[in-house]
Amino acid sequence: MIAPADAAGWELAWNKKYSGKVSLWNGASTNFEIAALKLGYPNMDILSSNQLENAKQALIEQKPLNKLYWGSEYSQEQPNFKSGEVWVTYCWQDSLVSMTKAGLKCAFMTPSQGRLSWICGFMLGANTKNYYHAHAYVESYIHHLAAAQMTNLFYYGNSNATVTAADVQNKVLVKALDLGNPRAVTTPPNHLQSWTPNRAALELAWQEVQAA
């Protein structure tokens, strides 16, 4: 369905050939990061006012090509890809496993401008009662067996460096996401998502894209 030559970079989402078959996530920062990378702004989370405006215009230009901005991974993104409603979609790590299991021929794209990667963490509130339980919780969360299990059940990478590629059952995913490489999310071709200084302006710009 997608010509391999077209799947070279983030501009695939702007390719009119696939109009109505594209689906980006309904997320402000991610879509602006995609637009920024497409426009050649590698500092994708620190955009100047002009760059933000250019990214907004690029997203407005891309909008009609979208079938939908998906909001739910399991009730929209994956079912629409499986049913053929959508051919090109922004997705997370487990989609590849889900689609492969459904017998679809698909792959993660490695955009010339780089992929997006992210890290999630825990936050402990200053006034948390029994805060010491939090440490025990995190200890159990990053235990080797728990971490390996999380990758095998939910296909997330994790911060436990003792989990190697050998611990991960799905070898397709290991290869696609370079699991087992502790630096995979922070080194090229991956761009690690980070804090956005002008978040309020970005959020408003995303609202304008949606309303446009």
């Binding site: 109505g20 309904n26 997320g27 402000a28 909008k63 009609p64 979208n66 079938k67 939908l68 901005y69 909001g71 009730s75 079912p79 629409n80 499986k82 049913s83 053929g84 409603e85 309020a200 959020e203 408003l204 995303w206 609202q207 304008e208 949606q210 309303a211 446009a212």
Partner: protein, 307 residues
């Protein structure tokens, strides 16, 4: 024995007591209305003029900048989305009311003893959650592998795998789902008016030589107008702020004004701007209610006597 003066005063005292009694009964619901309806509107108003904010540490001071931007800002996309939404809302309201009329007419005048059974069948979808019904349309009926496309493929009307693209995530899907969701609801007030209509009037029209169509057009339809207007308002008001159906079956270009508001309070939180949109919508709904409210007279006797 009360004096004449006291005797004159007693009924008045009783009437005042009765009025106080009735007033007391109204107080609890009135309190709830004030608390859950008026209260939030007041709070929203404060947000809309920047006297409150959802962002901790942000200074608050009266500002009408968001209002100015929404109402007069050049090429404001939210204002444009509002007019787009109103267009869709009007289209849905007119279409649903027009389609519900023959249905209500059939129930009231043709179905006879089966009419309440049929009415129950008509409102049966209400036993299922609104959200579930929308998801069913999206996931079972309209999507690429849904019932419609599968049927077209089975009948060889389209090549297998080549689904109809505009069935889902389009204006069509929003229209269809809202139409389906509202039609039983809209049918009820029209049915109620037609059901209570004095049948002798149409018989009299027939006796005077009117054809069936003329009797309908000059007697039945004018008398049913209060129900029609009530039905129209019943669909117009909720559709004005609708966001669930567009969220699930609408594409990026088909989101309604309600989705913009929801987004300002959810995914991209800016309650100050969202409050402006919400208050603007509430104002429009109030105006619509004032305009149509004066036509909401379902008492056919009052109509006939011209009061």
């Amino acid at each position: 024995m009360p004096t004449g003066d006291v005797a004159r005063r007693q009924p008045r005292v009783r009437a005042v007591r009765l009025r106080i009694g009735r007033g007391t009964l109204v107080l609890p619901p009135l309190g709830i209305v004030l608390l859950v309806l008026v209260g939030p509107i007041v709070v929203l108003t404060l947000y809309s003029v920047n006297l409150r904010t959802n962002i901790p540490g942000t200074p608050t001071a009266f500002s009408s900048a968001n209002w100015k931007d929404f109402l007069t800002g050049h090429g404001n996309p939210f204002r444009a989305r509002f007019f787009y939404s109103m267009k869709i809302t009007l289209l849905v309201s007119v279409a649903v009311t027009a389609a519900a009329y023959p249905l209500a007419y059939y129930l009231a005048f043709v179905a006879r003893r089966f009419r309440y059974t049929l009415l129950l069948v008509l409102i049966a979808p209400f036993f299922t959650s609104y959200l579930l019904r929308i998801v069913a349309w999206s996931d079972i009926v309209l999507n690429n592998n849904g019932v419609v496309n599968q049927s077209l493929w089975a009948l060889h009307l389209r090549a297998h795998g080549n689904g109809v693209g505009w069935l889902l995530y389009s204006n069509f899907s929003i229209f269809l789902v809202l139409f389906y969701a509202w039609i039983p609801f809209v049918c009820l007030p029209i049915f109620a008016v037609l059901e209570n209509m004095d049948r002798q009037l149409t018989e009299a029209a027939a006796d005077l030589g009117a054809s069936r169509f003329k009797a309908f057009w000059t007697v039945t339809f004018p008398l049913s107008l209060p129900g029609v207007i009530a039905a129209f308002v019943f669909v117009l008001i909720p559709t004005t702020g609708e966001f669930i159906a567009p969220l699930y079956v609408g594409g990026p270009n088909n989101q309604l004004f309600g989705n913009e508001i929801q987004s300002f309070f959810g995914d991209s939180p800016d309650w100050n701007y969202g409050a402006v949109l919400a208050i603007a919508l509430i104002a429009v709904v109030l105006v619509l209610m004032l305009v149509f409210g004066r036509f909401l007279n379902t008492d056919l006797r009052t109509q006939r006597s011209g009061r």
